[in-house]
């Protein structure tokens, strides 16, 4: 019974495929997966917008939206209708074609990454050998889409926003990829499916997730920080800093195209969270061995929701970084830490299991962290500001 529940979507797909001619089956199968992913994640997007707004409200001691429908749950519907019916404005001097293509490229690129995410046991749309590489290739197209949006609007603010976004995404892509390499090393494969498989075991009731190792934990934290930066979310949301450049690269977008940007951003964020789950949090594996009866996709989405909640929490807490802080953090902290983490991970693999491995692994990460942290803090000592003209 649990077996069927676990595989119910896979079985359903096979049932549907059985009715179609053999020649079109591969295409049909891909289309089915794509439709499922589109529907599920677009719904999740709608759900997240309302949860985020309500959650942020609570963090700030407000109610959040509570007018549309019961508890304001129909708010996304209202928002969607509003953005659909709004006028689509293209600035007079904008580059029409590029302006129109940008949101489409963004959304498509954001969705492409999902093809390799294992959403459950046997639930990877295409299980590629070079899955991870594919994911990063797809997400690197997002940068281009952002540039297209910023440049084609012919607006200084949007161009500035695009430049900021690209500079930030390129800088953080390095630690992002370096931190994933630890997991790749441990699993010995670039395929997302294989990486999850290598984490499915249990010792006693405890799972073998990579996050429960010193390097895995450090890698996870680094990955999440870089991932937040990569998806342009607060506190790394300078590209759309309302206070200085209005809304960044999508200033000149309105109506449905604006909604597409919004969608693309959230889809990208879910994809990054999904990849973090795949790489470090055991993918669809249950957190304890006695919980394996629940279907695998349930665990994936449960973890996804937890990570999204974490991101909302972080967004509610931290103020936006300044550009130089952002770059300093990327190059002086994230990058060295990612390299050190790589070293720590390889040491871990070559030391025999036991307490020694844990101690060495922890020291290898904790000591550089403390030193780097101290160095960074020292150079950023705040002095009491003196005002020359006021008081």
């Amino acid at each position: 019974m649990t077996e069927t529940m676990d595989q119910i979507f896979v079985l359903l797909k096979h049932r549907i495929l059985a009715h179609s001619p053999v020649s079109v089956q591969p295409i049909f199968s891909a289309a089915l997966s794509a439709i499922a992913i589109l529907v599920v994640f677009a719904t999740l997007f709608a759900l997240t917008t309302i949860l985020e707004r309500k959650g942020l409200g609570r963090f700030q001691n407000r109610y959040g939206p509570n007018r549309v429908g019961p508890f304001g749950l129909l708010q996304p519907l209202a928002d969607g209708l509003k953005s659909l019916t709004k006028e689509d404005i293209v600035p007079h001097s904008a580059d029409g074609v590029v302006h129109m293509l940008a949101p489409i490229v963004l959304v498509v690129a954001a969705f492409l990454g999902y093809a390799v995410l294992p959403l459950g046991r046997n639930m990877t749309a295409i299980n590629l050998d070079a899955g991870l590489l594919y994911f990063f290739a797809a997400s690197s197209v997002v940068e281009l889409a952002i540039f297209m949006a910023g440049w084609s609007s012919r607006n200084k603010y949007s161009l500035l926003g695009a430049m900021r976004a690209i500079a930030q995404m390129i800088s953080y892509e390095v630690p992002l990829i370096l931190s994933t390499i630890t997991a790749v090393m441990a699993a010995g494969s670039l395929s997302t499916g294989a990486i999850v498989e290598s984490q499915t075991g249990y010792s006693g009731i405890w799972p073998h997730w990579f996050v429960f190792t010193p390097w895995g934990f450090a890698g996870f934290v680094l990955f999440m920080i870089a991932g937040i930066a990569e998806s342009n979310r607060s506190p790394f949301d300078l590209p759309e800093g309302e206070s200085e450049i209005i809304a960044g690269y999508f200033v000149e977008y309105s109506g449905f195209k604006f909604a597409l940007f919004f969608l693309g951003e959230y889809i990208g964020m879910f994809a990054i969270c999904g990849l973090a789950i795949t790489l470090f949090l055991g993918g669809w594996a249950a957190p304890f061995s006695f919980l394996t009866w629940a279907p695998s996709y349930f665990w994936f989405f449960a973890k996804l929701l937890v990570l999204i909640a974490m991101l909302i929490w972080v967004r509610a807490t931290l103020p936006r970084l300044r550009m130089d802080q952002l770059m300093n953090f990327a190059w002086k902290f994230m990058l060295p830490m990612a390299l050190i983490n790589l070293f720590a991970a390889s040491t871990w693999h070559f030391t025999p299991p036991g307490a020694i491995r844990w101690i060495v692994g922890t020291i290898l990460i904790a000591v550089p962290y403390l030193l780097l942290g101290r160095g960074l803090m020292q150079s950023n000592k705040l002095e009491k500001r003196t005002y020359r003209f006021a008081d």
Binding site: G55, F59, Q60, N61, R62, W313, V314, M377
Partner: protein, 198 residues
């Protein structure tokens, strides 16, 4: 240590998050249409015409002197003087406004009309939900819509209303003390003020 501040901040926001579910005092938002804060007494938004007695049109204090029309900075008051006269609260024969319109969308709530009115006939209201679906007729308020009883004035601005009542009573008392020879003199100053309006 690096990151310590972030953890502290996260703890703080988490406390706010859970606190907002537990203690109602944290949530400072007033759920507006259902809950309302009492308005401060000095709140003002849009003028109304005060009337005494029960008849909202006959009891209007306004004598159509058109001072407010002239003084209103955005020129949103429109008055047409009546051709006949009727007695005011003292009993003096006065004109009354045949048409008295104020454009809600133009009024900037400056209260100048109230300041200049020599008859305390126009006062500021504190009602603020004035939106309508008709942006032309719906926003041009006529005499009938503007008229509100003195009791309402007492309700929203008790102190000012009491002061005004006192003043009016005093004027009335003085007029009664002066007694009879009022009837002829009262109309002298009226016609020339009409000629200056256009």
């Amino acid at each position: 240590m690096l990151g310590e501040g972030i953890l502290k901040g996260l703890a703080e926001t988490a406390r706010n998050f859970f606190g907002s579910f537990v203690s109602k005092e944290r949530l400072t938002t007033v759920q507006f249409p259902e809950e309302r804060l009492p308005q401060p007494e000095a709140a003002r938004n849009f003028p109304f015409l005060v009337y005494d007695g029960d008849d909202s049109q006959a009891g209007l204090r306004c004598v159509a002197c058109q001072i407010c029309e002239k003084e209103c900075p955005p020129k949103c008051i429109f008055i047409q003087k009546s051709s006949d006269k009727k007695p005011d609260y003292i009993g003096k024969q006065q004109f009354y406004p045949a048409v008295f319109n104020i454009d809600v969308s133009v009024c900037m709530s400056c209260q100048i009309c109230v300041e200049v009115c020599p008859f305390d006939a126009i006062e500021m209201d504190n009602a603020f939900e004035l939106s309508t679906t008709d942006r032309f007729r719906g926003l041009l308020w006529s005499r009938e819509q503007l008229a509100k009883p003195n009791s309402y004035f007492h309700n929203i601005h008790p102190a000012t209303a009491a002061e005004v009542d006192e003043r009016l009573a005093e004027a009335k008392a003085r007029a009664e003390a002066k007694a009879k020879p009022t009837v002829a003199a009262s109309t002298t100053s009226q016609p020339d003020s009409q000629t200056t309006t256009s």
